[in-house]
Symmetry: C2
Subunit: 332 residues, 2 copies
């Protein structure tokens, strides 16, 4: 029912090839150009992307897989990514891996089936094999926020270790020595931040007290439970570093419910800036990631690969972070 290039051919008397050329920005005589444009308007013609995709095997669509679509982190990342891609006339096919390795594997298959031109992924799994198929099909991949071993893919992330080492100065400068950490050990970011934490402690000449180290999963519940346990200790830590948004939130909930006061009884230093943390009492001292810059860089990288077909070595880009002051750290 909708008009095709063939209808335009009938109306203008030109050949398919010429019309196609016009549609793709080629040179046609001004006179013919006029005819074609008039005909397009008259017939309400729009190109059928499916047919075009079939012959070019390009769809101008990027697949995006996020670890968990309902986290605020994903919300912001998706906002920036879709904005940047839209600007370049690319569409996005979004998948939620829901922190599930099996689903993540399926998502890759699904996206390749949809013939996306490239994939941006915030990975759940540490094992990079789930992306093998993209390699075979020559579909470029850019990792976001978390890298994978093997160095086979471009990656945009932040310098997690460095960020934590610097942030820890805040606690150290305020003379904290009994410092705990609540982190996720399942993800790259959590492990990196834990490493940074260890480094900072070591440099300060402090030793890590085993019961103060709470490595678990990326969830509000883990932050909540861990903080409860820390607060219940006879020998309470004076400060806690919390790995991410969900854990920080859970930890603050635990403190608020417990009767203890932050920062009087316990100080908190968090990761992942969010407007929430300016609201709650007290405002939390946080490490803030440059989400917009990360997103833009990821888009730039993947479009570079797609449009130049570049096979250069994958590059890993680490962006810097900033510190957002709060009132959750007490001077001892």
């Amino acid at each position: 029912m909708p008009a095709t290039i063939r209808d335009i051919k009938e109306q203008t008397g030109l050949s398919l090839a010429t019309i196609s050329k016009y549609l793709n920005g080629g040179n046609v005589l001004p006179e013919n150009k006029k005819k074609i444009e008039a005909s397009i308007k008259d017939l309400h013609y729009e190109v059928n992307e499916l047919a075009r995709g079939l012959v070019t095997s390009k769809t101008r669509t990027i697949g995006i897989m996020v670890h968990n679509i309902s986290s605020p982190f994903s919300g912001q990342i998706l906002h920036y990514l879709t904005e940047a891609l839209r600007e370049k006339q690319y569409g996005v096919l979004i998948c939620d891996s829901n922190n599930d390795e099996k689903l993540e594997r399926e998502n890759v298959k699904y996206l390749l089936g949809k013939k996306v031109d490239g994939i941006i992924v915030v990975p759940v799994t540490a094992d990079p094999t789930f992306l093998d198929a993209t390699f075979k099909k020559n579909v470029p991949v850019v990792l976001l926020d978390r890298t994978l071993s093997g160095g086979r893919f471009d990656c945009v992330k932040i310098d997690n270790r460095g960020a934590v080492v610097r942030a820890m100065q805040v606690l150290l400068n305020n003379r904290h020595t009994k410092i705990a950490i609540i982190a996720s050990k399942r993800e790259y970011t959590g492990r990196e931040r834990y490493t940074g934490f260890g480094e900072a402690m070591k440099r300060a000449g402090l030793t890590m007290h085993k019961p103060y180290v709470k490595l678990g999963v990326h969830s509000l519940a883990w932050g909540y439970e861990s903080m409860k346990e820390l607060l219940a200790m006879k020998d309470r830590p004076t400060a806690v570093f919390t790995d991410n948004y969900e854990i920080t939130l859970g930890a603050m909930m635990a403190i608020n419910e417990s009767g203890f006061k932050c920062p009087d009884d316990i100080s908190v230093l968090g990761f992942d800036d969010n407007v929430i943390f300016h609201l709650i009492d007290p405002p939390v001292y946080m490490v803030k990631q440059p989400l917009k810059e990360m997103s833009n860089k990821a888009v730039e990288l993947i479009l570079g690969r797609i449009e130049t077909g570049s096979l250069e070595m994958p590059m890993e880009i680490s962006l810097g972070t900033t510190l957002v002051e709060g009132e959750s750290v007490k001077k001892l």
Copy 2:
């Protein structure tokens, strides 16, 4: 490079038609079935969805347009929607309207260009004409959370007025009479809730005090500024109804910063449940929407339209809400 149905034809000696029939679940002789399956495995064949889509003009893809992808509401909705659609083997093309009418209009065009089989939309614009094109192209649309005038589209939402009327009982039962409202007037939900608010006041024999009515936009800032103004009044309201997540959050921020205490100095009743509101001090009394049920219903509706091609009258489904108790309302 990837194997096609033609390669299978060569290997099995069968015709294209037979192989296609098999791929689409038709009956073939057990013997041939074996041959085809062996060949598929051998060649790593997978159907080219682009080619299939070209001839069937179905893509098994649903377009989803949300008013603002970085809001927690969208995050949750998207999570449930993608989950339900994935289960039915449908993919999703997600667009962020970013609260921008122009972008919303473009998104419709974009999705239709991508030949989606249907569109689920949380609309920004009140004027339904931006969806006209879907009508012409026979692409079913389901509205989510907000309906549009004209009654031309299926819609899944909650009973906003009723929810507010019932929620207001909490304030009324606690003998509040000086009640303010901070709401967005740009969206359907805000206007409906405002109407419900008015109804509840009227039924209780109370009159709305103009300065207590803050109708503005759906943003943290509006909630924040409005609450500041309310607090600055000589004749302060004793309670405030806040329309949505962002406004409630902003309002709580304003209270916390102002030196006033909730609920001692001012009570708050909010809309949109979120884990945040259990954390902050005090936990907020809230109306909670059944997001999962809403999402599932929307998927059910749109797949029904697509798969049966039904042209029945559009239906509007209103689901009920629940009340989540908090400590933000004071008994007078």
